[in-house]
Structures are given as C-alpha cells and as structure tokens.
C-alpha cells in the first residue's frame, strides 16, 4: 500500500499530450451552427433537448388534466392520452435526460475538466449533434402524421406496438423506431468522443483518480450507454422488420382486429428482454452523471472534500457493471420463467448497497462542512432527499414478491419519477445554476433561483409522494379514466385533482426558470472566472466564457485532486487542481506546518 512512486523511468516530458489541430472557422455559421467546438455543440444539445423536453412537459400537463379533471378538454380522448403517455416517457428518458447529461454536460465539461482542448474527434462530435437533431425532428414529425404518434407506451411492447388497436400504428411507430435508431447512431458518435477524450486526452498530471466525479459519472454512463443502446437498436430493427415486412421476430400467431394475423411463432418476451437489457442500464445512464455532478456541487458549496472519493469512484464502476445483470426485474410479472425472479431480485437488491454508500458519502461530506446555501446547493440537497425517497421505494419494486401487487400501479409511477425524473432534473437545475456563470460570464438571478427551487422541490414531492399510496390501493397506471371500480376509493379523484394543480404550479415555476436564463444572459451580475471558488479545471480557464481551445497558450498541468477544499493550514479554503505545490499560500501561523 502507499503512495504511487514516480521514479525517473516513468517521467514523460510535458509535451506528452499532443496539441490538437482545431478548426477555427471565421463565419457566424461556422462558429455557431456547423461548429466543431464541444462547448458550442453542448449548447446546441442543451437547447434542442430542452425544447423537446418542454413539449414533453406540456404532454404531461395534458395527461394530468385528464386525470385530475376528466373530460375537461375534448381534445384528449383515449388514443391521444396514450400518445401523450408514450411520447412524454420516450422524450423525457431518451431525448431529454440522456441527451442533456451526455450530449450537453458531457460535451461541455469533459474536455474542460480533463484539461483537453476539445473532444478527441471534433468532426464526429458535430455529426453526432446533427444526427441527434434529425432523430428529434423525426420524432416531432410523428405528431403530425395521420393517426398520430405511437401510443404503445415508452416500452413499445409488441405485439401491441405494431397491432391495430393501438394509436399510431400506421406511421407513428415506424417513425418512432427510425428515430430511435438515428438517436443511437448519433449517440454512438458522441459517446466514442466522450470515452476516448477521458481515456486519452487528459492533461499532464490528470490521473484517473484525480478526475472530478462529474467526469467519472458521465464517463461510466457513456460506457454503459455504448454497450446497452445496441440492445435497443437491435430490438428496434427487428420490430421494424416485423411491422414493415411481416417477419415474426416478436409477433406470435394472434388475432389482429378480430382477424388472424399473418405472423406466427414470434416471442413478445424476446423483445422485453432486449428492451430491458437496454432499459435498465438506461436508468443508470441518467443517474450516474447526476451522481457525479451532485458530488461536485456538494463538495464545492460545502467547502469540503468529497468524503470517500475512492469509494465513490468504485461505487460508480460497480453500479455500472451490475446494472447489466438486473434487467429482468422489470419483468417479474411478465410471464417469463418465474424462477428468474430469485436471481434478479438478488442482483437488484445487491445494487442498492453501492448506491446507499454513495448517499452516505454525500451526507458525510456535508457533515462538518461549511455549507453555503447557494441555489446549486439547495438543488443538491433537494436531490439527496428525493433520491433517498425514490431509492427506498425502489427496494419495494426490486424485491420480487413485493413487486407483484405493486407493478403497473401508480406506485411504480411515483417511484420512477422520484428516482429518475425529479432527482436527475434537480441535479440538472443545480448544475445549470452552478455552471451558467462559466458558460455566459454572468450569474443567474438568485431570488428567482430560490423561488424556482422551492416550488419545484416541494411541488414535485407533493405530486409523486402520494402517488405511491394510490398505487398501494391498486390504481393501475396508463389508464385514461377510472370509471366505476369497486377497489378505488372516491377520494382518489380528489387527490388526482390536487396532484394536477401541483403539477401546473411546478410547470409555471419552470417558466420562471426559463425567464431567468434569458434575463440573466443580458442583465445578470458579472461572475468573474471562478465565482464559487471551485478547484476543477474549467474554472481556471484564462477566459470566461472559455474560448475555442479552452485553455490559453499552454494546457494546464494538474498537481492535485479536485477536492482540496479547506486544506488545513492553507490560506484559502480551496486550492485549484493546477496550482503547483510551491504556489500554495499558507496562513501565517502555520507557515512551516503545511499539511501532513
């Protein structure tokens, strides 16, 4: 055990990381549209993902309207309700969260935090965004097709997804599958960049264990996505063939609108296996970047090193690896061989251990810290609380027996919204408040930010916490209306109305946030290069916002990990990663002491 020894033989001259050839376009279009600068591509991703995310938000409001105040709008009929359910889920999970975390934050932060000039393959990176945009546009076109977009649920289970009787079976489902395939191809282009940049383009001194946890989270999520998305690609291709050419990969012999279909012998369960082989890692593809980012937010704003950094890194790696062997916990009541339940319940609950460790370490990072209640910190704490709640309800659903009565009820809806919708979104908000000054040079308005936080945090809790209980009562999900049932109490309707009102209030708060983004861009307080006094490299750039190429003449050299906050004896409570040991200022009293 002990510190790594660096002897002369391992000495590598400073020019080790070769300078990249960067494209320096002169025109506006070259700079901001066909840009190969990861930072511009990141902004493009963020804008596109947020725009389509707003569409999904509106869809969720329409659903809530129907559930809270049934039949108040004639435009919502059972078909369109299912279309809203499907598109809301699909957009939020893939086109918003995945794209925003990896395409948005990944592009912006990986090169800056690793100390690279840009991504490893800038051209491919640009292509990645444009393919993503095409996939989003295909998705949008689906809304305007005759018959509309698909209403098969975001899980797109066959035979339902391509069988008449489900909305959007004519064109919607085809566009959906093509759009997904495009998304995956585009993502693979971007993902290669993120992984290779982390592996190969780190600056001098930036060992793997000196990477900020943000980079670790995004890196591991990308690795998982690269390996998991092919499952969705293969499934989508096979379903396309079933739909267009009439093959029978997934389609059994069955009735279709009362007539015998031409398919024979296909296996609907095969699709579910493929889908969830992608689908479960997908949850962590969204969660891991959030884990990483929130670690950095907490450390920075509590002025304390992240507690148990190594454990945090290993937890990320173990969660990433384990998440490939838990997929069938989405299928406990799917009719698969029930004996699988033993195996998958065990692996699923085992994954809770590293996840719990991460939670402890976040809380222990706050303990004995010096907590600044800045807006990013508020969002980070909001994430912690929401994530703990959502994670614990996950222990119900992962445990095979408990899942049986709860699956496909509002318990599930409450659980996954807490854990993979609200929790990551809170991190995204926190991250935007945190990094906006770097991106624009101006601070976001603090008062608006606090209002935004409180309404969002309390509002979402009011929306999703009660859902668990109506789920316990057995209220099934994906129902357009409940009509008269013997087991659903009348008070559920009142609760649904309340949830809908809360949802609208939360939505209004997001308008406030968008206003803040625009207003602060022009009127916000100047932030200076490092308003939060953070250690990571992106705050040490010579220009704010960073220019093309990120760092000035020379790439920074890294002498320490990113969590040197409140180092005993040091004059300031932070020492950026690129400060050489000789330049660290010590307090008068302990000048001779340094640190142990």
């Amino acid at each position: 055990m002990g510190e790594r020894e660096y002897d002369a033989s391992s000495y590598v001259p400073p020019a080790e990381v070769g300078e990249m050839e960067l494209v320096h376009p002169k025109t506006f279009i070259g700079k901001y549209i066909w840009s190969q600068d990861a930072k511009v591509i990141a902004i493009q991703y963020v804008i596109t993902a947020t725009s389509i995310g707003l569409v999904a938000l509106v869809l969720s409001l329409l659903m809530r309207l129907q559930l809270g105040f049934p039949n108040s709008l004639t435009l919502i009929d059972p078909s369109s309700y299912l279309q809203y359910v499907t598109m809301h889920g699909m957009i939020m999970v893939i086109y918003l969260l995945t794209a925003l975390f990896l395409g948005g934050f990944g592009n912006y932060l990986i090169p800056l935090m690793c100390g690279a000039r840009d991504m490893a393959f800038p051209y491919l990176n640009m292509l990645s965004y444009w393919v993503y945009l095409v996939s989003v546009l295909l998705l949008v076109v689906g809304f305007f097709l005759p018959g509309g977009s698909t209403g098969a649920g975001w899980t797109l289970y066959p035979p339902q997804a391509i069988n008449p009787g489900t909305p959007g079976v004519d064109g919607g489902i085809i566009l959906m599958l093509v759009s997904l395939a495009a998304f995956i191809i585009g993502f693979t282009m971007g993902g290669l960049n993120y992984v290779v940049t982390v592996l190969q383009a780190r600056t001098r001194g930036m060992t793997l264990m000196r990477l900020p946890l943000t980079v670790w989270g995004i890196f591991m999520a990308t690795v998982m996505a690269l390996l998991a998305f092919p499952a969705l690609l293969v499934a989508a291709l096979m379903m396309l063939l079933d739909r267009l050419l009439g093959t029978s990969f997934f389609m059994p012999g069955m009735l279709s609108m009362g007539e015998l279909s031409s398919h024979e012998g296909g296996s609907p369960l095969l699709f579910q296996h493929l889908f969830w082989f992608f689908g479960h890692p997908e949850v962590y593809i969204v969660a891991l970047p959030a884990f990483g980012i929130v670690s950095d937010l907490i450390a920075t704003h509590a002025r304390k090193n992240i507690f148990g950094y190594r454990m945090m890194v290993w937890a990320i790696i173990i969660i990433g690896a384990l998440s490939f062997v838990v997929w069938a916990h989405h299928m406990y009541v799917s009719g698969m061989n029930p004996y699988f339940g033993f195996l998958f319940a065990t692996t699923t609950l085992v994954i809770a251990v590293p996840t719990a460790i991460k939670v402890y370490n976040w809380v222990l990072t706050l303990w004995r810290g010096n907590i600044h209640f800045t807006v990013p910190m508020l969002f980070a704490i909001g994430f912690l609380f929401t994530f703990v709640n959502g994670g614990l309800s996950g222990l119900f659903l992962g445990n095979v027996t408990v899942d049986v009565p709860l699956s496909d009820t509002y318990f599930v809806v409450g659980h996954f919204h807490m854990v993979m919708a609200v929790a990551p979104i809170l991190v995204i908000f926190g991250a935007i408040y945190h990094w906006y000054p770097k991106v624009t040079g101006r601070m976001l308005n603090d008062t608006l930010g606090k209002i935004h936080f409180w309404v969002t945090f309390l509002g979402t809790y009011a929306i999703y916490y009660p859902m668990h209980f109506i789920g316990l009562e057995g209220v099934p999900r994906r129902y357009y209306a409940y009509g008269e049932t013997t087991f659903i109490s009348d008070s559920v309707q009142a609760l649904n109305a309340g949830i809908t009102i809360a949802a609208f209030i939360v939505a209004i708060a997001q308008v406030l946030f968008l206003f803040n983004l625009v207003w602060s861009y022009f009127r916000g307080r100047e932030s200076g290069p490092n308003p939060w006094q953070a250690n990571t490299l992106e705050w040490q750039t010579p220009h704010t916002p960073p220019r093309h190429g990120n760092f000035g003449e020379e790439l920074p050299a890294v002498y320490r990990w990113p969590y040197d906050y409140s180092v005993p004896g040091a004059k300031h409570d932070f020492i950026p990663q690129n400060v050489p040991p000789e330049e660290v200022e010590y307090e008068e009293s302990s000048k001779s002491g340094g640190r142990a």
């Binding site: 055990m1 002990g2 510190e3 790594r4 660096y6 391992s10 000495y11 590598v12 400073p14 080790e16 990381v17 490893a120 393959f121 693979t188 993902g191 290669l192 290779v196 190969q200 780190r202 001098r204 001194g205 060992t207 793997l208 264990m209 690269l226 390996l227 998991a228 092919p230 499952a231 293969v234 291709l237 096979m238 063939l241 050419l245 009439g246 093959t247 029978s248 990969f249 031409s262 012998g265 296909g266 296996s267 095969l270 296996h273 493929l274 082989f277 090193n305 950094y309 190594r310 890194v313 290993w314 790696i317 490939f324 890294v558 002498y559 320490r560 990990w561 050489p580 040991p581 000789e582």
Partner: protein, 223 residues
C-alpha cells in the same frame, strides 16, 4: 441472453479490472509535492485517439452482434417453428474472399510500416475490391435463397439470416468509408506515416469483421 452476458461480462471484467488497477493503491488526496518532480505518466504515446476510438467502437459492435446472436438463439429456443436455412456453397467462396481481403489489408499495413508505397497501393486497392466482391457475393446468396423460396417472412431462421448478414455487410460498407479516406490520402500523395494510421485501423477493423463473420457463419452452419 447468456451469450451476451458472457461477452459483456468479459468486456466489463477487462475494463473494470483495468480501472481498479489504476485506482486500487492510489491515494488521490495526496498532491504532487513539488513542481520540479515529474508528473505521473498517464498516457503512453502509442495510445493515440484513433486507436482508442477503434477499440471502443469494436466493443460497441461486439455488443450489437452479441445481442443479435442472443436474440437468434432465444428465438430459436422459444418458438417451435424454426426451420434452418440451407447454406449455399457460395457462402464458402464469400468467406474465402473476405479472408483474402483481410490478408490484403494486413499486407498493406505491413507495407505502410516499412515504407513500401507501391505494395501498399496494390494491397490496399485489392482489399477494397475484395470487400466489394464479398458484399456482392452476399447479395447473390440472398437472391439464390429467395429464388428457392426462403423469403424473409417465411421463417424466423430466414429472417435472422438476412438480418445478420445485412448488419455485417453494413459494417463492412461503413469500413469502406475509412478505407476510401486512406486511399484518398495515399493517392493525394500524403506522407506514409499519415496514411499508415488509417490503414492500420482498417486492417484491425477488417480482421474483427472477419471474426464476426466466422462466428455468424458458424452459427448458421450449426443451427
């Protein structure tokens, strides 16, 4: 899914093992003690971005084919309607052509390393032509099969055969784009060192796809 799991587990084990080896005995909070001390060696010069990129990409392609093969086997076991596809003799010929393409590119790589420009030119072109010949050969196999009544919709075995061969051929065609770039550089008179990087990637990629083809062909032959 067993196959996918095994393949992925192996890939993950290598990757996770490497990550752990990088981190297990490191105490990250210990900073460099002096600016004068050399900074830790992190990336050997031979690890270039394109090489890392290719390895990562091959991992992705492995995942695609492992999953397809898993689906193939699961569908075969789950359904009762599986009727194997006949293997036209042409497939053997195509396999030979693909082996030759791989050999040609390997020779090209070797030639690039040793600065033999004429040999590089000949073998690189030959590699591309052989690849195109392979793809055309596969198309002929498709025609033969459908002429004999083995349509895609007739049986899942047929559907999988078309799907897998199409996926494989598409990957080869994608490789031809990289091949075309290398060829373009070569004929544009670029330095051999710059061409070499591209040729090397092509050669590795072709070997990999040959391996994939061997696995796919073996699968079709045995089931």
């Amino acid at each position: 899914m067993t196959i996918t799991l095994i393949v992925l587990a192996l890939m993950m084990a290598v990757f996770v093992g490497w990550l752990f080896s990088q981190s297990i005995n490191v105490r990250p909070w210990i900073a460099e003690t002096s600016r004068a001390r050399p900074l830790p060696r992190i990336i050997p010069p031979s690890v270039t971005a394109p090489r890392v990129g290719l390895v990562v990409f091959l991992a992705v392609v492995t995942s695609v084919f492992a999953l397809s093969i898993s689906a193939y086997i699961m569908r075969m076991e789950m359904g009762t309607d599986w009727r194997s596809v006949p293997e036209p003799g042409l497939l053997w010929l195509n396999t030979g052509v693909l082996v030759l393409a791989s050999v040609a590119l390997q020779t090209a790589w070797h030639a690039a390393k040793h600065g033999k420009r004429p040999l590089l030119r000949r073998t690189l072109v030959a590699g591309g032509i052989l690849t195109v010949a392979f793809v055309i050969g596969q198309l002929v196999v498709w025609r033969q099969l459908s002429a004999a009544g083995y349509y895609m919709t007739a049986n899942p075995a047929n559907a999988f055969f078309y799907l897998l061969t199409a996926l494989h051929a598409l990957h080869l065609l994608g490789g031809l784009v990289a091949w075309g770039r290398a060829l373009n550089k070569l004929y544009g008179g670029a330095e051999l060192a710059r061409v070499r990087a591209g040729v090397e990637l092509c050669a590795v990629y072709w070997h990999f796809l040959l391996l994939v083809w061997a696995v796919l062909f073996g699968l079709v032959l045995t089931t």
